[in-house]
């Protein structure tokens, strides 16, 4: 069963990778290294992100995924290496320019005051509001759109502390969408969501990766990653082990080496990756 279905079956998902319209590079990550406390958390990684592409950043806990994402989003500064966005070095962007172009959704994001959902999503417009300006119709339109896209219509008048973890995750994603970014970085966007909203959010992120936009999502669910991401980048102990089409990245060897787990993969109507058992401690 396992032998018969691996590799070839995962390739089924790759039919529409060719749909990616152009080869415009949005982000070039070059030799990115982040050291914290003398340890390289992100170790010399390089990859490109194309327009209209959704990239899944995968790897075990502590692989450096979130740190790498925060550096590419311009929130943390790398120890060395560079991030070039639209042919300009990220460090040359002003903080407002950067915030208008990039939205970053924090993993387990917190909300400190009991704002209503609607008002919280409105905060996403802050990068587009110069200091003394009023909120315009365009701002309201962007917020309405974000509320609909992230399926927050039914909870829009609730206060954030009364929401469940998954509902809050959707609201925080809507906050990022309200900023109408051309680059959307989401750190574990579906970890807290129920099945229906996992599919809805993944489809939303994939749809967002069009019109020259691009999306990077840190993922733990490999089945969803294979199904929705155009490409995957596999990280392990700070290094980039593999980057490319999902089937090429998620080989049984790669998964065994990185996660220390043997998997059963296959494809019925959708591709799936199911952990079988632990092999040993992962090799480095």
């Amino acid at each position: 069963m396992k032998q018969s279905t691996k590799h070839t079956s995962l390739n089924v998902t790759q039919t529409d990778v060719q749909d990616m319209a152009t080869d415009t590079v949005r982000i070039q990550v070059q030799d990115l290294t982040v050291e914290r406390g003398g340890r390289a958390i992100v170790d010399n990684i390089s990859f490109d992100l194309m327009a209209n592409e959704m990239l899944g950043l995968i790897g075990p806990n502590g692989a450096g995924k979130s740190t790498a994402l925060a550096c590419i989003a311009g929130i943390d500064s790398p120890t060395s290496g560079s991030v070039v966005i639209d042919k300009r070095d990220l460090t040359s962007y002003s903080s407002t320019e950067r915030a208008r172009c990039i939205a970053w959704v924090e993993q387990l994001g917190n909300v400190h005051w009991p704002l209503s959902v609607e008002r919280l999503i409105m905060l996403g417009r802050i990068p587009h509001l110069p200091r003394w300006s009023k909120v315009t119709d365009a701002d309201y339109a962007a917020v309405e759109n974000a509320i609909t896209e992230a399926d927050c219509q039914s909870i829009r008048y609730r206060k954030v502390p009364t929401l469940s973890g998954g509902e809050r995750a959707r609201v925080l994603l809507a906050r990022a969408l309200a900023a109408t970014p051309s680059l959307l970085f989401a750190d574990e966007p579906v970890s807290a969501l129920d099945l229906g909203h996992q599919l809805q959010t993944m489809q939303l992120l994939r749809d967002y990766a069009s019109n020259q936009h691009a999306v990077v999502a840190v993922m733990h669910d490999l089945s969803l990653a294979v199904r929705y991401c155009h490409r995957l980048a596999l990280m392990h102990e700070g290094r980039l082990v593999a980057v490319g089409e999902p089937a090429a990245v998620l080989t049984n060897d790669n998964i065994a080496n990185v996660y220390g787990v043997s998997v059963v993969t296959g494809c019925d109507s959708v591709p799936w990756v199911i952990p079988e058992h632990r092999i040993s401690t992962p090799k480095s």
Partner: protein, 334 residues
């Protein structure tokens, strides 16, 4: 009730309480005597009383109230914590120390404004000390720790002065000053507190949206283009300046900076930027009301010594705060 309506109501209350404050002293005077006479007959006794005694008292209550209220709202927004108070920055105790030092060494003998001026200098010195201690690139928590440390140091120095005071009368004088009061101030006191206060207010305007962004945490705020380090310094210095000026003039008046933002937050729909103007006016209204209450107590009861307004705000504020916490525990439950 939305925040605009609440703002209008607060505006009306401040004007009303301001008028009451102008009409009230050792005895009530009519609205005509208070508002018309100072212009019609500037030399009359009633005009002089209004101008020299009641006007400064009213102005200082409004200015200090605004400073305390808005600073409390800004600090709570910056720290994303409803229990933060303007006292955390250390400049309040610095101002108290400076003023008490002046009172101790040359009370009234050198210059009538020596006490508030020394208070201002004390506030500025403690602010710079916090700056030096925590360094330019500090996070919010480092700033607050430095503020708390400086607070403790200033309190220790204050105790030392009390310890060394030559007579019980001197001790009484010093302690009473720190309790917080706005009686017997002059227009010169208003001029002394005004520059730093205005600078502080100016720095706080325009921080609203950044404080809103901080609702989502420091990292998400910085991803939204907010320079959180710069913001914390700006709020810190602004609060130090205007609270330092208030304390140097009035002594320690507690609980306004804590209770007022907490009380008005629901009317601002919990949004820090909308809370700032509400808390400013609310602070002014509360301090005016407390100062009026203190005068009413002297007017209608046999209490031998005039109550200090700082004592009253603490007496009312502390239980009130407890009730608010119990009531809003549900709102803040995570």
């Amino acid at each position: 009730m939305n925040d605009r309506l609440c703002l209008a109501i607060l505006c009306v209350s401040v004007v009303f309480l301001g008028l009451v404050s102008l009409c009230l002293g050792e005895q009530w005077s009519s609205l005509h005597d208070t508002l018309v006479l100072p212009f019609a007959d500037p030399e009359s006794v009633s005009a002089v009383i209004t101008r020299e005694i009641r006007l400064p008292r009213t102005l200082i209550a409004i200015i200090a109230g605004i400073s305390l209220g808005v600073s409390g709202a800004a600090m709570q927004g910056l720290l994303q914590n409803p229990l933060a108070s303007p006292g955390l920055v250390g400049s309040a105790s610095g101002a108290a120390l400076g003023a008490v030092t002046a009172l101790y060494f040359f009370a009234g003998t050198w210059h009538p404004q020596s006490v508030p001026l020394a208070g201002m200098i004390g506030a500025l010195i403690t602010t710079s000390l916090v700056y030096l201690l925590s360094g330019r690139d500090s996070s919010v928590s480092t700033l607050i720790l430095a503020g708390v440390a400086i607070n403790a140091l200033a309190a220790a120095c204050l105790s030392l002065l009390l310890n060394l005071a030559p007579s019980p009368f001197a001790i009484r004088e010093l302690v009473l000053w720190t309790l917080g009061d706005i009686a017997d101030r002059s227009l010169q006191d208003v001029w002394v507190m005004l520059p730093c206060t205005l600078l502080g207010w100016l720095l706080l305007t325009g921080t609203g949206r950044s404080l809103d962004a901080l609702t989502l945490g420091e990292r998400t705020a910085s991803s939204m283009g907010i320079n959180t380090r710069k913001l914390s310094w700006r709020v810190f210095i602004a609060v130090s300046l205007c609270v330092g000026a208030a304390v140097a003039t009035t002594g320690m008046i507690g609980f306004i900076g804590l209770v007022i933002p907490h009380l008005l937050r629901p009317f601002a729909q919990y949004q820090p930027s909308r809370l700032l103007p509400l808390a400013a006016l609310g602070g002014a209204a509360m301090l005016l009301a407390a100062d009026i209450a203190v005068r009413l107590v002297s007017l209608y009861t046999d209490v031998p010594v005039p109550l200090k307004v700082g004592v009253l705000t603490a007496l009312v504020g502390a239980p009130f705060f407890l009730v608010l916490i119990l009531k809003s525990r549900r709102d803040y439950a995570r």
